[in-house]
Symmetry: C2
Subunit: 616 residues, 2 copies
């Protein structure tokens, strides 16, 4: 049975040595985040995740959810754990104070969500999506919703979901068929089928608040075939009296079925049927805009910023699930490698009194483990930095700093979603591989990590879509401003450290990677406008280059900090020396990959497009 110990020390290092959050007094709430305070929060979260959530992880996988007589039941222990989760205050970490939340910045909430996901990804998705839903409702809802609905969601009395996908469309929401028709009282009646709704139904709370997108039909009753009439709605499972906030009666939402899936079996993935369900349009009064001929028209779409905000947060959250599964799989891989005896070290026995050496003596076993750990810790640094940039973008005093933070966090979001989840899956597979045949056996729990990790590459926009978003939108928007800003940060770091001899093993590979990023960007600039398929063909390789170099940038900074700490002689030397080993690993064995991807990115689209679809 797998075990998990939350990486509190590494998180403390990132928060208080790497990011020095307590010094950012200009950011709301940051001044309170003294090391004592954050350690108390993280250790409390760690204890809860290790003791309550992690022991339910295999049970959730074995039992899965059930759907009988219209009722969805979660696995043994989930309902009670959710109660404890809410009682412990973990559901309200990031919620606004007005509704009883702790209003902690996302750098803390994401740290906790990593632990939750390492412990039990299927469980953690219930509160994870719920908090995404209440944030969106807080941003777009009416006062009575904030007062009566958001507050209950924050309290954990009710949960929430995101309803986007339909049977015939996921990414291409223009094809959506769900319709919402306005009623005389200003509410809507919403009908259609939504699928893949995580936590769409369950037995943990009395009500579920669905955040749904749907089209408003035209006067002819027809749906437009574009996004112009797409709106964002709140559709409660049980109807609510706006005055009292009390549940009145069942709404027209029912669960059609739950999916049998590869993994995350403890989370109910529902088909939801909306049948004339009462729906509330969000986003306030639709905005107006001038048409070309000067007329002022009311926009037919509203609240979409709320939905996009929810989706962006979710993409970041999924990326963190990639880190989370890498961390827990790694920990178990290490334990097995130190315990399992087989063969002898290639350089002579290391455990001469035992019948064989632990397999940790083999370079290739270490490669599997180090690649996971160097990814996990580098990715965590990037995720924490970007999480802080979210706050900086909203609240920093300096406008340039705000804009830079916004640009970089936008640029990094698809990378965090896609590159992190690919690597998380790889890390889960690597640790499973360390177990040999035993990794394939369910009891050991390693194959569950692989199955659970696999969803992260798919949901919230499949990773190929993220790569296209990176090259087609994030890198190019506003004349490539975000790309240039990010390049500028790396360039400045290289220049500031290139004469430091100790930093040479980190700066030179970073420079190599940085040059290749530039090569990729330059090639795209010259070749994508001619033929957009060139951007599509290069997208995945470019994303891998950017992801690898972004982590190299983190590792170079962490190496610099570790060298300084070792020189000072303060803190745990073992900790800083390990950081240096991992930083070297990244430079030595990951940066070389960027050569291959950069070459491939420049191959163009012809070779991919020449075969007729029928000849595949």
């Amino acid at each position: 049975m797998p075990s998990y110990k939350a990486p509190v020390d590494d998180m403390m290092f990132l928060l208080h040595e790497f990011l020095e959050i307590e010094k950012r007094e200009d950011l709301p709430g940051f001044a309170d985040l003294t090391p004592d305070m954050t350690r108390a929060i993280l250790e409390g979260g760690a204890k809860f995740c290790e003791e309550v959530l992690q022991p339910l992880n295999q049970i959730g996988d074995e039992e899965g959810c059930t759907f009988e007589n219209g009722v969805v039941r979660t696995p043994t222990g989930f309902k009670e754990a959710f109660k404890q989760y809410c009682e412990g205050g973990w559901n309200k970490l990031g919620a606004p104070e007005e509704v009883g939340g702790a209003d902690l910045p996302s750098v803390i909430t994401f740290a906790f969500s990593e632990m939750g996901s390492s412990s039990n990804q299927a469980f953690s998705m219930y509160p994870g999506l719920s908090s995404a839903a209440y944030s969106a409702l807080w941003a777009t809802g009416e006062d009575w919703m904030k007062k009566h609905v958001v507050s209950k969601m924050v309290e954990g009395e009710w949960t929430g979901t995101m309803c986007l996908t339909e049977p015939h469309c996921g990414t291409d929401l223009k094809l959506m068929k769900t319709r919402a028709v306005e009623q005389e009282d200003g509410t809507y009646r919403l009908s259609g089928t939504k699928i893949f709704i995580s936590g769409g139904d369950h037995d943990m709370t009395d009500n579920i608040i669905h955040m749904v997108i749907a089209k408003i039909p035209g006067e002819d009753g027809k749906l437009a075939d574009d996004l112009s009439t797409v709106n964002f709605f709140m559709v409660p499972k049980m109807l609510i009296d706006p005055e009292t906030g009390k549940i009145t009666q069942r709404n027209g939402v029912s669960t059609g079925s739950i999916e049998k899936k590869m993994g995350i079996k403890g989370n109910a993935t529902c088909v939801l049927n909306f049948d004339e369900a009462v729906a509330y349009r969000l986003g306030g009064r639709p905005s107006t805009k001038k048409t070309e001929d000067g007329k002022v028209v009311k926009s037919k779409s509203a609240g979409m910023a709320g939905m996009f905000g929810m989706m962006n947060g979710a993409r970041m959250g999924v990326g963190i699930q990639g880190i989370a599964v890498g961390e827990v799989a790694y920990q178990n891989g290490v334990a097995y490698a130190n315990e399992r005896l087989a063969g002898r070290s290639l350089t002579g026995p290391k455990n001469p009194d035992g019948p064989a050496d632990p397999i940790m003596v083999f370079p290739d076993v270490r490669r599997l483990l180090l690649s996971s750990r160097a990814f996990v810790e580098g990715a965590r640094a990037l995720a924490f930095w970007v999480s802080m940039l979210f706050t900086v973008a909203r609240s920093a005093k300096d406008e340039t700093e705000r804009q830079e933070a916004e640009d970089i966090s936008q640029l990094m979001t698809p990378i965090i979603k896609a590159y992190f989840t690919d690597r998380g899956f790889e890390a889960a597979n690597a640790s499973m591989q360390v177990f040999g045949g035993h990794g394939y056996i369910r009891d050991h729990g390693m194959e569950q990590f692989v199955r659970d990790a696999r969803i992260n590459q798919v949901y919230e926009g499949a990773n190929g879509i993220q790569a296209l978003d990176l090259v087609g939108r994030k890198m190019t928007s506003k004349g490539g401003r975000a790309t240039l800003t990010f390049f500028g940060k790396i360039d400045a770091f290289i220049k500031a450290n290139e004469n430091d001899a100790e930093m040479k093993p980190f700066i030179e590979p970073l420079r190599t990677g940085y040059k290749r990023m530039g090569e990729c960007a330059g090639w795209l600039m010259n070749n994508a406008p001619k033929n957009f398929d060139n951007a599509g063909a290069a997208s995945y390789d470019v994303m891998n280059v950017f992801g690898t170099v972004a982590l190299a940038f983190m590792w170079a900074q962490m190496a610099k900090l570790s060298l300084a700490k070792l020189k000072e002689g303060t803190g745990n030397a073992e900790f800083y020396n390990r950081k240096l080993t991992l930083a070297r690993y990244w430079m030595e064995r990951e940066i070389p990959m960027t050569a291959a991807w950069t070459e491939r990115a420049q191959a163009g689209s012809e070779g991919l497009m020449e075969l007729a679809a029928a000849n595949f």
Copy 2:
């Protein structure tokens, strides 16, 4: 529900155009293999696999095997399918004529086993291991075993297994605890526990013949802690009268449990308890050898060549499972990509009358599919070639040809096992990714391919062990003769074609890859002897370089042949043009990867070994 169509045309191309097997009249049985004959065999096999085995694949996964009251039951339909399998003669394709086999060369038997595995890997493992077992028994057994046991296994009346792994040891068989004690009648009594025994028990036949390795204790009753006393035994589940071949009574073999696994659920993976089971030592009279002081001593080990032969065949078979899962996953990925509508081509609508374009228009979707197909067809070419070399090594008239064939097939075996199964897993994941969220849902069957494919990287020696075998043994034995022979073949091909302008797009990348192979080999030669950990640290990257370049060698040859056929104007132009597209794909997008791996291979072991085990 997934579908499967056996790639008979591609197999015919490889057998009769690429390898021209019918021209090898010097090899036993090859002259009979006219195109009509092989097409009849392959089409018969295809029909059986498509119509009987494939429809049971998802059922097998859903139901799995059960173990109740000491009885193992296979999923619905498996028993009947096995009967049909044997009645159709598919169990005896490669068996010796003396026992009723068709004695077809392995180039045919492997082709059929690819189809079987694409259709239903879990099922195909039963007859697959059974034929490995009967071949080993044929090679090492006594006359009565050949007459009464092998014949029944060939007929499919009984099946067979391989029993190597124990709870505490798999790769390191020196640690084995299973013991066999000689009795006065020359038989042995064998006791111990063997695990991970595929098809170790089932309800399809009346008897199961276990091929078991065990140690013979010394006179003091103790087991040696090395391989010196390891022997190979036949242990039937039901005892057999050597005179009549009839079953007499139950032997001391019982099933302890069956494993709950990630995949291949239709195959019963058993824990077998041997309790004073009657065992027959194989390999005839143990050989004698002279010790250093001139004494002639009887070897305490026998029959191991039979076991190693069985293992080598099994490694090849597992590599083919990697091709097989890649093929079937690819086929389903293509069907979905042509059917699923979402978004519009980056270069303007390709299906303007429809609501959206099929996702096949996107370069990144094509990348996922082409990478799978280029792997599958390149790997199939290599596997067929090596399968033919097995026969050449045994039966060619020319000694040099025999030796070269033996060397190359030995060198390629770990590559086929490890590189093919890594890529097969990747291909299964790629096609699952094409399905987006639907790929994660069990009904569609795509995630089963991923789960089933995952075992191939683990069993018959985890892939890291194969990589070590490649660099530590296969590349270096006999002064690196096999490596040099293989290099010589590529070099000769490059030289013979470097002035052909049409071949330039294939020859130049092949040359680049070939140079990198040489760089890897040279680095190992200089650095491994100093520190064997350098070989271990480089092993996986070197294996990836060799695998990629070996397939590039196949693709360059197939490109040459396709160009010639197109010039001749005979045959299916579409087929040859597709081969050229795939060959270009391999050169353009796979050869670049070898740059990265070659650089990494030369990084040395220091970075992997510096961290103390306790600091991981």
